[in-house]
Symmetry: C2
Subunit: 292 residues, 2 copies
């Protein structure tokens, strides 16, 4: 069955690439604001009896959520049989614990909102830290695309003598996986804590790596602080200019500028940004295609 | 039991007035944005075993809705027994019909979102046009405050020889009710349609009213078009400068400027605006108080 895909992110070239890979019919919607700033939404493509997918990248989701829920409700009312959502970046996954009494563990109500309206969801490397899988909070069918193979491929094709670097032990599993796929060595920095504000970071066997290009990989760059600290340490160890890679480049405030002053910055196109160099459209389209 | 009231509209003087009238305890929350623009929310006042109310005026609701739902979910999780919402202006009530195929009847999914999270709701004169009551779409306990007595009172105290005017037959019931409460006469303009673009409006017995101040009353002023057309007609009939009163002054773009060039504009304080002159805090507080 030919997929029918509605796009709530007009500006997203990724949505168009996915639609093309899927050979999807593009669903037409009319979306605007009334003079009182309420949302007007109309589905123009018939969807009765059809299985449909909505592309809506839930990066900075607060002012996108209502029109997304309205669209899902309308599609259901108009007779769509199954409704999926593709959100390359899945918001609120980092709010997974009550660190202080009374805090909203927002990943949960957010998951419930989407689960109430959608049958399935495709996303790329959601920030699974304290949750083992999406199923812990999402009751819809959650499908995860992994960017590691595409990142590894980019490293193989673009970096001579890469050395993959994990900034801390938490990142080891993720970095070692990309390193293996790229056929490259990896090292995890070791931290020795001497006090609250006195942490010594060191790269084991540093002499061995002077001719290698350090490649830092993480799932999200937001403030960029972790990456910047690690990069500064590598410079102190007299290693060549590093490459910083992230799946999702959120880049708050001046994060991108600060980091790109120190390193080459490369991201996947899950969040559209000037640093995008690794295309995820094929992998996402493959996962979405399996729902049809 | 002393009400516990959380305010999501920091700038609303109405919320403070209601809290004061209710002698409510003010619930403390911490609300901010993470660097990635996601919302951080923390409830600081214990609410376990308590009945609580959230003030959140759902005017221009699209970017307010997520934090509102997060707050409701958190209050519930923290053990609040009953959760109500006060929204002097209730959004999306005007989207009550599918005028064209595929349109979102947004009043319904919006009602469901609130009904899923809240036990009761207090609002002022919701735009009930095709719905007879809130209960048609809201499954929570909906309570409506009527501004008519406060408007009538303002008219009695401020306008000498008022003549209440309904711009069309739809408004008759509403205008006649305010007129009766104010002890003032009323007239409904009659429209004679001669073609698609040729409508003749006339005020019956116009000679009788030359010494009266025309008072136009409506529930919402948004673009102000209906009011402006009516006012222009009254000028053509050589009546004195009119007064335009609305419960909810939404005033899109230059609506307020355009209308106030022609008439005195007076609104209730359900939406905070420079034209506010009629206070609703006592009536709202009375209705809210009945939930405790």
């Amino acid at each position: 069955m030919q997929p029918l895909m509605f796009n709530l992110d007009d500006s997203s070239s990724l949505a168009n690439a996915i639609a093309q890979q899927l050979d999807a019919e593009t669903g037409q919607i009319s979306l605007r604001q009334f003079p009182d700033k309420e949302t007007y939404l109309r589905v123009l493509t018939p969807c009765k009896g059809r299985s449909v997918v909505v592309f809506c990248n839930l990066y900075q989701p607060d002012d996108k959520i209502l029109r997304l829920l309205f669209l899902a409700a309308t599609l259901r009312e108009l007779g769509a049989t199954k409704i999926g959502i593709v959100t390359p970046y899945l918001a609120y996954m980092r709010q997974d614990k009550r660190f202080n009494p009374g805090e909203c563990i927002s990943s949960r109500p957010f998951a419930k909102l989407l689960s109430d309206k959608f049958d399935w969801l495709v996303t790329v490397d959601p920030h699974l830290h304290r949750y083992e899988s999406l199923d812990e909070i999402y009751t819809l069918q959650g499908r995860v695309v992994h960017a590691a193979p595409m990142i590894a491929n980019w490293i193989s094709e673009n970096i001579k003598r890469p050395l993959l670097i994990g900034p801390d032990s938490e990142s080891e599993q993720w970095v070692s996986h990309v390193a293996k796929l790229a056929g490259a060595p990896f090292q995890v920095l070791s931290k020795i804590r001497r006090g609250d504000y006195d942490v010594e970071v060191s790269l084991p066997d540093v002499e061995k790596w002077r001719q290698h290009t350090p490649v830092l990989v993480d799932d999200i760059i937001s403030s960029g602080r972790t990456m910047i600290e690690t990069v500064e340490h590598l410079y102190a160890e007299q290693l060549p200019k590093p490459v910083c890679i992230a799946v999702h480049g959120l880049f708050s405030d001046t994060a991108y500028q600060n980091l790109s002053n120190l390193a080459q910055v490369v991201t996947c196109n899950s969040v559209i940004h000037t640093s995008n160099a690794i295309d995820l459209s094929r992998a996402i389209a493959e996962e979405v295609g399996q729902q049809f």
